[in-house]
């Protein structure tokens, strides 16, 4: 399958993620959109890694392995982020009885 398809899919997912973050007010949905963006990037990394492997495996051992590695790093970071982020959302709900991010405009003070 040509690499272009992967790229288009990934860009589409990323844009959906961005649009979601920008438009939605529900903290959990925003959170999911962020995850979407991260995974769009992961998808792209895996795709490119695979491409490099096919192109260079004859001459270079382990070609494209770094892209795969990167994906695991991102997954780990994302997992950590989820734990912190969900904790924040839980605390926010306890304090305000809402998970609407527009409710949290005290950053300006």
């Amino acid at each position: 399958m040509p690499i272009n398809y992967y790229i288009f899919l990934s860009v589409a997912l990323f844009c959906i993620g961005v649009a979601g973050v920008l438009t939605r007010r529900n903290a959990i949905i925003i959170f999911m959109c962020i995850e979407l963006m991260l995974n769009a990037v992961n998808l792209l990394l895996v795709a490119f890694s695979k491409m490099h492997y096919h192109a260079l495996s004859a001459t270079t051992p382990n070609a494209g392995i770094d892209g795969q590695l990167f994906v695991f790093f991102i997954m780990v970071v994302a997992a950590a982020e989820v734990s912190v982020g969900l904790a924040i959302i839980v605390m926010m709900y306890r304090n305000t009885h809402s998970i609407d991010v527009n409710f949290l405009n005290r950053l300006k003070h």
């Binding site: 961005v18 973050v21 920008l22 007010r25 490099h52 192109a55 260079l56 001459t59 270079t60 070609a63 991010v101 527009n102 949290l104 405009n105 005290r106 950053l107 300006k108 003070h109």
Partner: protein, 646 residues
């Protein structure tokens, strides 16, 4: 002994430091003893050096203490010049200085301890600076002393600084001196650029190598410095105002020593002036004009110190006349005799003021002869000396200058003799009004009248003796051939100018003496006859009013120089307040306004922030896209274009 010459200025410096630093601890008598003692010590050392210099065949010595400034090829050592001229000035400064210090211990007795010590420390600092001035072996050391005496003059005129007028007088003196000092400084720079040196030996040695034009410029600038320090037209108006200082200060600084610095400087650099005839003419004419102008003003002054101040200006004019016509010995001779009799007159005036309880207006005095016998006799001797009646000292020195002036140009002589007539007239007007007739003050003042203590009368007597006999150091050749000791003494330094008497015919010389003596006697008897019984008490009218108001020179300066400068300053204040400050405040206001508007962006809405972030990233992407990768990343220079795959 000449190697120990550094002791002479070092002693007063030590006195200055002691009195200045420990003014709160030292008792008044100790302060007075330190203050006078160090000057006496300096006088003794000067005498010892004089004993060595006096011998025939003494070679002028330059005593180098250390390297002062060394820049590139220019090297300025801190060196002292020991020769006949500087030693003569050393004796005058320390000798008269000591007498005045002694006098001050009694005169300033009403001051409290720290103030008294402040006074003596300033006075010691002054003596130190003045000694530096006459001892310096190059123009820079001379200039340091020159500035030092100016500073001390300022400090001492403003000694009673609580009085705003006195403070203003001090500022006036300082600023007018500053104008002259600028000329002097430029002259020094000029010399450095032309000769590559400022030491007397080298500059005078190379003097004939430059053109007359350059020499005229240098000497005119030096003379500008001298007009400031020595109170000549156009910078003389500070000296009469300088009488705000304590009277011994007027005697020491504004009569005997500091104001003669200009004469010393020109006599010292006479080699340069000899090469610039134009400057010599300027010096002579300015000196003569100052002598006449100041003498005319002195005719109508009623403040005892003001009369003496204008008299000083006038006598300084005489000295410059002498310098201008090449009679350097005569000018220095007059410096010496003037130091004696003018210090005497000022100290006498101080004694009178002391007795009158601070009163300085001679219209309120009169008949003080009975109450102040010592003061009145010494004052009379001083008056006779300054009037130029033989055989008192003023006669000899003034006659020498006038004879030299006659040879140069008879017009100088005529004006000079007329000024001598005025001098005799105003001095005896002062004497007659103050000491003769009946007392015109209040009864309390009359009750308070007393002769001053010994510490004040002893200096008076010593100076009176010097004022009487001082002239015998320079007896003109026409009276006794080869008896002019001073000319022989100073010859090696100021050059053996062909004495005026040798050029004048024997008869003509006697005629000149006769005329000047006659003029002095006319002035004397006219003034005594007119003022001893009926002193002029009313306000002067007509021309007398012009004289009493000093020819309105102060008003003229005020209108022509001070007012425009004030207006300029006001304009600059306006400019500063409105335009400069306006720009500065405008920038501040712009930033404040801009930030108030920008603050609206910080809404606190997380979504808004994210939107802006995304927009920013989008813009970066677009820029990258349209510049083909040469935009942001190329400018940042950090991101490689594309890693080549393995």
């Amino acid at each position: 002994m000449t190697q120990l010459v550094w002791l002479v200025p070092a002693l007063p410096l030590a006195g200055f430091l002691l009195n200045g630093l420990f003014r709160n601890q030292l008792s008044k008598s100790l302060t007075g003893m330190i203050g006078s003692g160090v000057v006496l010590g300096a006088f003794v050392v000067s005498l010892l050096i004089f004993g060595e210099v006096r011998h025939e065949g003494f070679q002028p010595a330059v005593v180098k203490l250390f390297d002062f400034i060394t820049v590139g090829k220019l090297s300025i050592p801190f060196a002292f010049q020991v020769d006949q001229l500087s030693v003569l000035f050393l004796l005058i400064i320390t000798g008269v200085g000591f007498l005045i210090h002694l006098y001050s211990t009694a005169y300033m007795h009403d001051e409290n301890g720290p103030q008294f010590a402040r006074y003596f420390s300033y006075l010691n600092l002054f003596v130190f600076s003045m000694l530096l001035l006459v001892l310096g072996a190059n123009f820079i050391i001379l200039f340091i002393g020159w500035e030092g005496v100016g500073l001390c003059s300022y400090l001492l005129i403003g000694y009673w600084f609580q009085n705003i007028d006195y403070g203003n007088a001090a500022k006036k003196a300082f600023i007018m001196n500053r104008i002259g000092d600028l000329g002097f400084l430029i002259a020094i720079f000029f010399m450095i650029s032309k000769f590559g040196s400022v030491s007397f030996d080298e500059v005078f040695g190379k003097a004939s190598t430059v053109s007359t034009g350059v020499m005229t410029a240098i000497t005119l600038l030096l003379f500008l410095g001298a007009t400031g320090k020595s109170a000549q037209i156009p910078l003389y108006t500070w000296l009469p105002d300088a009488m705000a200082g304590p009277t011994p200060v007027s005697a020491l600084i504004h009569a005997a020593t500091m104001v003669t610095a200009g004469i010393y400087m020109i006599a010292r650099s006479h080699v340069l002036f000899d090469l610039a005839p134009v400057t010599q003419t300027v010096v002579a004419v300015i000196g003569l004009a100052t002598a006449l102008l100041a003498a005319s003003i002195a005719l109508k002054q009623n403040d005892i110190k003001k009369v003496l101040a204008y008299s000083t200006v006038s006598q300084l004019g005489y000295m410059f006349l002498g310098l201008g016509v090449g009679a350097y010995t005569g000018a220095v001779f007059h410096v010496m005799t003037h130091a004696f009799f003018k210090a005497l007159l000022f100290l006498g005036a101080g004694s009178v003021i002391h007795a009158m309880g601070g009163e300085q207006d001679i219209r309120k005095m009169g008949g003080l002869r009975k109450a102040l016998p010592a003061t009145s006799i010494t004052f009379l001797l001083g008056c006779i000396a300054i009037a130029g009646i033989p055989p008192f000292s003023g006669f000899f020195s003034k006659d020498e200058i006038l004879s030299a002036a006659y040879i140069k140009n008879p017009i100088y002589y005529v004006v000079g003799v007329f000024t001598a007539l005025l001098t005799a007239f105003y001095m005896f007007r002062l004497y007659a009004t103050t000491f003769m007739g009946g007392f015109r003050g209040t009864p309390e003042q009359q009750h308070h009248l007393h002769e001053s203590p010994a510490a004040m009368t002893i200096p008076l007597w010593v100076l009176a003796i010097l004022a009487v006999v001082g002239g015998f150091l320079g007896i003109p050749a026409v009276i006794a051939p080869n008896a002019h000791w001073l000319a022989k003494f100073l010859g090696p330094v100021v050059g053996n100018e062909t004495g005026p008497e040798t050029e004048l015919a024997y008869g003509a010389a006697w005629e000149l003496i006769g005329v000047s003596v006659l003029m002095a006697l006319i002035g004397t008897f006219w003034a005594v006859g007119r003022f001893s019984k009926k002193p002029e008490l009313g306000e002067p009218a007509g021309f007398g009013k012009v004289l009493a108001n000093k020819w309105y020179v102060d008003e003229f300066y005020h209108a022509v120089i001070v007012r425009p400068l004030d207006l300029l300053a006001q304009f600059l204040v306006f400019f500063d307040k409105n335009i400069v400050d306006g720009i500065v405040n405008g920038v501040g206001r712009l930033v404040q306004y801009g930030s108030r508007q920008l603050r609206l962006l910080q809404s606190g809405q997380v979504g808004g922030y994210v939107l802006l972030m995304v927009l920013g990233i989008l813009i970066l992407f677009l820029v990258e896209l349209f510049t083909g990768g040469h935009g942001v990343s190329a400018a940042a220079g950090a991101v490689p274009k594309m890693a080549t795959p393995h």
